[in-house]
Amino acid sequence: MSLRAGIVIFPGTNRERDMAIALARVTGGRSPAMIWHKDTDLPPLDLVVLPGGFSHGDYLRCGAMAAQSPIMRAVRDFAASGGYVLGVCNGFQILAEAGMLPGALLRNAGLRFLAQDHHLRVERTDTVFTRGYAEGEVLRVVLAHGDGNYFADEATLDRLEGEGRVAFRYCGPDGAVTPEANPNGSARSIAGVTSANRRVLGLMPHPEDYVDPLMGGEDGLPMFEGLVGALAA
Protein backbone atom coordinates (compact mmCIF):
# COMPACT_ATOMS: atom_id res chain seq x y z
CA MET A 1 0.00 0.00 0.00
CA SER A 2 2.74 2.42 -0.77
CA LEU A 3 1.31 4.44 -3.61
CA ARG A 4 3.46 7.54 -3.90
CA ALA A 5 1.05 10.26 -4.95
CA GLY A 6 1.66 13.98 -5.30
CA ILE A 7 -0.93 16.74 -5.50
CA VAL A 8 -0.05 19.95 -7.31
CA ILE A 9 -1.36 23.15 -5.75
CA PHE A 10 -1.81 26.33 -7.75
CA PRO A 11 -2.98 29.67 -6.33
CA GLY A 12 -6.76 29.21 -6.23
CA THR A 13 -6.71 25.43 -6.02
CA ASN A 14 -9.24 24.48 -3.35
CA ARG A 15 -9.85 20.74 -3.58
CA GLU A 16 -6.39 19.49 -2.66
CA ARG A 17 -7.35 18.43 0.84
CA ASP A 18 -10.36 16.41 -0.32
CA MET A 19 -8.08 14.69 -2.81
CA ALA A 20 -5.49 14.05 -0.10
CA ILE A 21 -8.18 12.49 2.14
CA ALA A 22 -9.33 10.23 -0.70
CA LEU A 23 -5.76 9.11 -1.40
CA ALA A 24 -4.92 8.62 2.28
CA ARG A 25 -8.02 6.46 2.64
CA VAL A 26 -6.61 3.89 0.21
CA THR A 27 -2.94 4.14 1.21
CA GLY A 28 -3.26 3.29 4.88
CA GLY A 29 -3.22 6.94 5.87
CA ARG A 30 -0.10 7.86 3.92
CA SER A 31 -0.24 11.54 3.10
CA PRO A 32 0.40 12.48 -0.52
CA ALA A 33 3.16 14.96 -1.31
CA MET A 34 1.81 18.48 -1.67
CA ILE A 35 3.63 20.23 -4.50
CA TRP A 36 3.61 23.99 -5.03
CA HIS A 37 3.17 25.24 -8.57
CA LYS A 38 6.42 27.21 -8.48
CA ASP A 39 8.44 24.06 -7.84
CA THR A 40 10.37 22.92 -10.87
CA ASP A 41 10.90 19.26 -9.96
CA LEU A 42 8.69 16.42 -8.79
CA PRO A 43 9.78 14.02 -6.06
CA PRO A 44 9.76 10.32 -7.05
CA LEU A 45 6.06 9.59 -7.62
CA ASP A 46 3.73 6.96 -9.03
CA LEU A 47 0.88 9.39 -9.58
CA VAL A 48 0.52 13.14 -10.03
CA VAL A 49 -2.89 14.67 -9.31
CA LEU A 50 -4.06 18.09 -10.46
CA PRO A 51 -7.06 18.78 -8.20
CA GLY A 52 -10.05 21.03 -8.62
CA GLY A 53 -10.40 24.69 -7.84
CA PHE A 54 -10.11 28.01 -9.59
CA SER A 55 -6.41 28.29 -10.31
CA HIS A 56 -5.32 31.88 -10.89
CA GLY A 57 -8.94 32.98 -10.60
CA ASP A 58 -9.80 31.38 -13.95
CA TYR A 59 -8.16 34.42 -15.56
CA LEU A 60 -8.06 34.42 -19.37
CA ARG A 61 -9.49 30.86 -19.56
CA CYS A 62 -9.91 28.19 -16.90
CA GLY A 63 -6.52 26.53 -16.46
CA ALA A 64 -4.71 28.77 -18.96
CA MET A 65 -2.42 30.40 -16.41
CA ALA A 66 -1.76 27.20 -14.45
CA ALA A 67 -0.80 25.40 -17.65
CA GLN A 68 2.16 27.79 -17.89
CA SER A 69 3.31 27.24 -14.29
CA PRO A 70 6.89 26.09 -13.68
CA ILE A 71 5.74 22.74 -12.27
CA MET A 72 3.84 21.91 -15.45
CA ARG A 73 7.07 21.37 -17.36
CA ALA A 74 7.94 18.66 -14.84
CA VAL A 75 4.41 17.22 -15.01
CA ARG A 76 4.64 17.11 -18.80
CA ASP A 77 8.02 15.36 -18.62
CA PHE A 78 6.61 12.95 -16.03
CA ALA A 79 3.73 12.03 -18.35
CA ALA A 80 6.01 11.81 -21.38
CA SER A 81 8.15 9.26 -19.54
CA GLY A 82 5.09 7.10 -18.84
CA GLY A 83 3.96 8.63 -15.55
CA TYR A 84 0.33 8.54 -14.44
CA VAL A 85 -1.54 11.83 -14.14
CA LEU A 86 -5.09 12.46 -12.92
CA GLY A 87 -6.71 15.84 -13.50
CA VAL A 88 -10.08 16.47 -11.86
CA CYS A 89 -12.28 19.45 -12.73
CA ASN A 90 -9.89 22.41 -12.89
CA GLY A 91 -7.15 19.80 -13.21
CA PHE A 92 -8.81 18.53 -16.40
CA GLN A 93 -9.01 22.10 -17.69
CA ILE A 94 -5.30 22.57 -16.94
CA LEU A 95 -4.35 19.34 -18.75
CA ALA A 96 -6.37 20.44 -21.79
CA GLU A 97 -4.82 23.92 -21.74
CA ALA A 98 -1.37 22.36 -21.42
CA GLY A 99 -2.04 20.28 -24.51
CA MET A 100 -1.66 17.05 -22.52
CA LEU A 101 -5.21 16.03 -23.38
CA PRO A 102 -7.14 16.91 -26.54
CA GLY A 103 -10.06 19.31 -26.66
CA ALA A 104 -11.10 22.15 -24.37
CA LEU A 105 -13.67 22.85 -21.65
CA LEU A 106 -16.12 25.58 -22.59
CA ARG A 107 -18.66 27.43 -20.50
CA ASN A 108 -21.56 25.17 -19.53
CA ALA A 109 -24.16 25.32 -22.29
CA GLY A 110 -26.78 26.45 -19.75
CA LEU A 111 -24.39 29.16 -18.49
CA ARG A 112 -25.02 28.17 -14.87
CA PHE A 113 -22.45 26.88 -12.43
CA LEU A 114 -23.45 23.29 -11.63
CA ALA A 115 -23.12 22.07 -8.04
CA GLN A 116 -25.11 18.86 -7.92
CA ASP A 117 -24.97 15.09 -8.08
CA HIS A 118 -24.99 13.48 -11.48
CA HIS A 119 -24.40 10.06 -13.00
CA LEU A 120 -21.51 8.77 -15.03
CA ARG A 121 -21.20 5.66 -17.13
CA VAL A 122 -17.86 3.86 -17.16
CA GLU A 123 -16.85 3.40 -20.79
CA ARG A 124 -13.41 1.81 -20.38
CA THR A 125 -12.03 -0.43 -17.69
CA ASP A 126 -8.59 -0.89 -19.24
CA THR A 127 -7.06 2.09 -17.46
CA VAL A 128 -5.53 2.28 -13.98
CA PHE A 129 -8.19 4.86 -13.13
CA THR A 130 -11.19 2.74 -14.11
CA ARG A 131 -10.01 -0.83 -13.48
CA GLY A 132 -11.97 -0.89 -10.22
CA TYR A 133 -15.24 -0.54 -12.10
CA ALA A 134 -17.22 -2.75 -14.45
CA GLU A 135 -17.78 -1.64 -18.02
CA GLY A 136 -21.09 0.18 -18.23
CA GLU A 137 -21.24 0.65 -14.47
CA VAL A 138 -23.15 3.73 -13.39
CA LEU A 139 -21.61 5.97 -10.73
CA ARG A 140 -23.11 8.78 -8.75
CA VAL A 141 -20.65 11.67 -8.59
CA VAL A 142 -20.55 15.35 -7.73
CA LEU A 143 -20.41 18.11 -10.33
CA ALA A 144 -18.96 21.47 -9.30
CA HIS A 145 -18.05 23.47 -12.37
CA GLY A 146 -19.01 26.40 -14.54
CA ASP A 147 -16.85 25.40 -17.49
CA GLY A 148 -17.26 21.69 -18.09
CA ASN A 149 -18.63 21.65 -21.61
CA TYR A 150 -16.19 19.36 -23.39
CA PHE A 151 -15.41 20.44 -26.91
CA ALA A 152 -13.25 19.00 -29.65
CA ASP A 153 -13.72 19.07 -33.41
CA GLU A 154 -15.55 16.16 -35.02
CA ALA A 155 -12.38 14.58 -36.38
CA THR A 156 -10.78 14.62 -32.92
CA LEU A 157 -13.93 13.20 -31.32
CA ASP A 158 -14.03 10.38 -33.89
CA ARG A 159 -10.37 9.66 -33.23
CA LEU A 160 -10.89 9.59 -29.44
CA GLU A 161 -13.82 7.21 -29.81
CA GLY A 162 -11.90 5.03 -32.26
CA GLU A 163 -8.94 4.82 -29.92
CA GLY A 164 -11.17 4.06 -26.94
CA ARG A 165 -10.10 7.15 -25.05
CA VAL A 166 -13.51 8.20 -23.72
CA ALA A 167 -13.37 6.93 -20.14
CA PHE A 168 -16.63 8.34 -18.77
CA ARG A 169 -19.85 9.78 -20.16
CA TYR A 170 -22.64 11.67 -18.42
CA CYS A 171 -25.77 9.56 -18.18
CA GLY A 172 -29.05 9.15 -16.34
CA PRO A 173 -29.45 6.98 -13.23
CA ASP A 174 -30.18 4.01 -15.51
CA GLY A 175 -26.98 4.53 -17.51
CA ALA A 176 -28.75 5.94 -20.58
CA VAL A 177 -26.67 8.55 -22.39
CA THR A 178 -29.19 11.08 -23.64
CA PRO A 179 -29.24 14.82 -24.37
CA GLU A 180 -31.42 15.26 -21.25
CA ALA A 181 -28.78 13.55 -19.11
CA ASN A 182 -26.01 15.79 -20.47
CA PRO A 183 -25.66 18.46 -17.79
CA ASN A 184 -23.32 20.91 -19.50
CA GLY A 185 -23.55 20.39 -23.26
CA SER A 186 -20.40 18.28 -23.55
CA ALA A 187 -19.74 16.84 -26.99
CA ARG A 188 -21.00 13.26 -27.09
CA SER A 189 -21.70 13.54 -23.34
CA ILE A 190 -17.98 13.14 -22.63
CA ALA A 191 -17.05 13.61 -18.97
CA GLY A 192 -13.55 12.13 -19.02
CA VAL A 193 -10.88 11.37 -21.61
CA THR A 194 -7.47 9.75 -21.49
CA SER A 195 -4.19 10.24 -23.29
CA ALA A 196 -3.31 7.82 -26.08
CA ASN A 197 -1.33 5.64 -23.64
CA ARG A 198 -4.26 5.75 -21.14
CA ARG A 199 -1.98 7.05 -18.40
CA VAL A 200 -3.37 10.58 -18.23
CA LEU A 201 -7.03 11.03 -17.31
CA GLY A 202 -8.97 14.26 -17.25
CA LEU A 203 -12.39 14.15 -15.58
CA MET A 204 -14.81 16.96 -14.76
CA PRO A 205 -16.79 15.43 -11.85
CA HIS A 206 -15.23 14.79 -8.44
CA PRO A 207 -14.60 11.12 -7.56
CA GLU A 208 -12.81 12.27 -4.38
CA ASP A 209 -16.09 13.65 -3.01
CA TYR A 210 -17.62 10.20 -2.57
CA VAL A 211 -15.12 7.93 -0.88
CA ASP A 212 -16.82 7.44 2.49
CA PRO A 213 -20.41 6.71 3.53
CA LEU A 214 -20.26 9.79 5.75
CA MET A 215 -19.80 11.90 2.62
CA GLY A 216 -23.01 10.51 1.17
CA GLY A 217 -21.50 7.96 -1.17
CA GLU A 218 -18.58 5.73 -2.03
CA ASP A 219 -18.82 5.55 -5.80
CA GLY A 220 -15.48 7.32 -6.19
CA LEU A 221 -13.60 4.86 -4.00
CA PRO A 222 -12.98 2.17 -6.67
CA MET A 223 -10.98 4.71 -8.69
CA PHE A 224 -8.55 5.25 -5.83
CA GLU A 225 -8.46 1.58 -4.86
CA GLY A 226 -7.77 0.71 -8.48
CA LEU A 227 -4.89 3.17 -8.59
CA VAL A 228 -3.33 1.66 -5.49
CA GLY A 229 -3.80 -1.86 -6.81
CA ALA A 230 -2.14 -0.98 -10.11
CA LEU A 231 0.56 1.44 -9.09
CA ALA A 232 1.61 0.68 -5.51
CA ALA A 233 4.98 -1.04 -5.41
Partner: protein
Protein backbone atom coordinates in the same frame (compact mmCIF):
# COMPACT_ATOMS: atom_id res chain seq x y z
CA UNK B 1 3.77 50.20 -30.02
CA UNK B 2 0.45 48.86 -29.04
CA UNK B 3 -0.97 45.58 -30.27
CA UNK B 4 -4.67 44.86 -29.94
CA UNK B 5 -5.53 41.17 -29.94
CA UNK B 6 -9.15 40.22 -30.49
CA UNK B 7 -10.04 36.70 -29.42
CA UNK B 8 -13.33 35.13 -30.50
CA UNK B 9 -14.79 31.65 -30.25
CA UNK B 10 -14.52 29.94 -33.61
CA UNK B 11 -17.61 29.71 -35.81
CA UNK B 12 -19.48 26.57 -34.84
CA UNK B 13 -18.35 26.68 -31.20
CA UNK B 14 -21.39 27.31 -29.03
CA UNK B 15 -21.25 30.73 -27.39
CA UNK B 16 -23.86 30.60 -24.61
CA UNK B 17 -22.75 34.00 -23.32
CA UNK B 18 -23.39 35.60 -26.69
CA UNK B 19 -26.75 33.87 -26.84
CA UNK B 20 -27.69 35.16 -23.38
CA UNK B 21 -26.73 38.69 -24.40
CA UNK B 22 -28.94 38.31 -27.47
CA UNK B 23 -31.86 37.20 -25.31
CA UNK B 24 -31.35 40.17 -23.00
CA UNK B 25 -31.33 42.59 -25.94
CA UNK B 26 -34.56 41.07 -27.17
CA UNK B 27 -36.09 41.46 -23.70
CA UNK B 28 -35.08 45.13 -23.77
CA UNK B 29 -37.03 45.59 -26.96
CA UNK B 30 -34.17 45.80 -29.46
CA UNK B 31 -35.34 44.25 -32.69
CA UNK B 32 -33.56 42.71 -35.62
CA UNK B 33 -30.58 41.40 -33.69
CA UNK B 34 -29.30 38.15 -35.19
CA UNK B 35 -26.61 35.96 -33.68
CA UNK B 36 -24.57 37.61 -30.91
CA UNK B 37 -21.01 36.49 -30.27
CA UNK B 38 -18.96 37.62 -27.25
CA UNK B 39 -15.16 37.66 -27.24
CA UNK B 40 -12.36 39.52 -25.57
CA UNK B 41 -9.86 42.20 -26.46
CA UNK B 42 -6.37 42.18 -25.02
CA UNK B 43 -4.19 45.28 -25.42
CA UNK B 44 -0.44 44.85 -25.28
CA UNK B 45 2.10 47.65 -24.82
CA UNK B 46 5.16 46.51 -26.75
CA UNK B 47 8.69 47.93 -26.61
CA UNK B 48 9.17 46.92 -30.24
CA UNK B 49 9.09 49.84 -32.69
CA UNK B 50 8.95 47.90 -35.95
CA UNK B 51 5.36 47.24 -36.98
CA UNK B 52 6.02 43.90 -38.67
CA UNK B 53 8.05 42.59 -35.75
CA UNK B 54 5.48 43.83 -33.25
CA UNK B 55 2.75 42.06 -35.19
CA UNK B 56 4.77 38.85 -35.36
CA UNK B 57 5.44 38.98 -31.62
CA UNK B 58 1.78 39.62 -30.77
CA UNK B 59 0.68 36.80 -33.08
CA UNK B 60 3.08 34.42 -31.34
CA UNK B 61 1.68 35.49 -27.95
CA UNK B 62 -1.86 34.99 -29.20
CA UNK B 63 -1.12 31.53 -30.58
CA UNK B 64 0.72 30.40 -27.45
CA UNK B 65 -1.40 31.87 -24.66
CA UNK B 66 -3.94 34.58 -25.42
CA UNK B 67 -6.14 32.29 -27.52
CA UNK B 68 -6.79 28.58 -27.21
CA UNK B 69 -6.80 27.68 -30.89
CA UNK B 70 -8.82 24.53 -30.21
CA UNK B 71 -11.84 26.77 -29.62
CA UNK B 72 -10.81 30.33 -30.43
CA UNK B 73 -9.50 32.39 -33.31
CA UNK B 74 -7.59 35.64 -32.95
CA UNK B 75 -6.89 38.80 -34.89
CA UNK B 76 -3.96 41.13 -34.26
CA UNK B 77 -3.99 44.84 -34.95
CA UNK B 78 -0.89 46.99 -34.40
CA UNK B 79 -1.43 50.69 -33.73
Amino acid sequence: MKAIVTVMLKPGVLDPQGRAIGHALETLGFEGVGEVRAGKIIELELAETDTARARAAAEAMAAKLLANTVIESYRVEVV
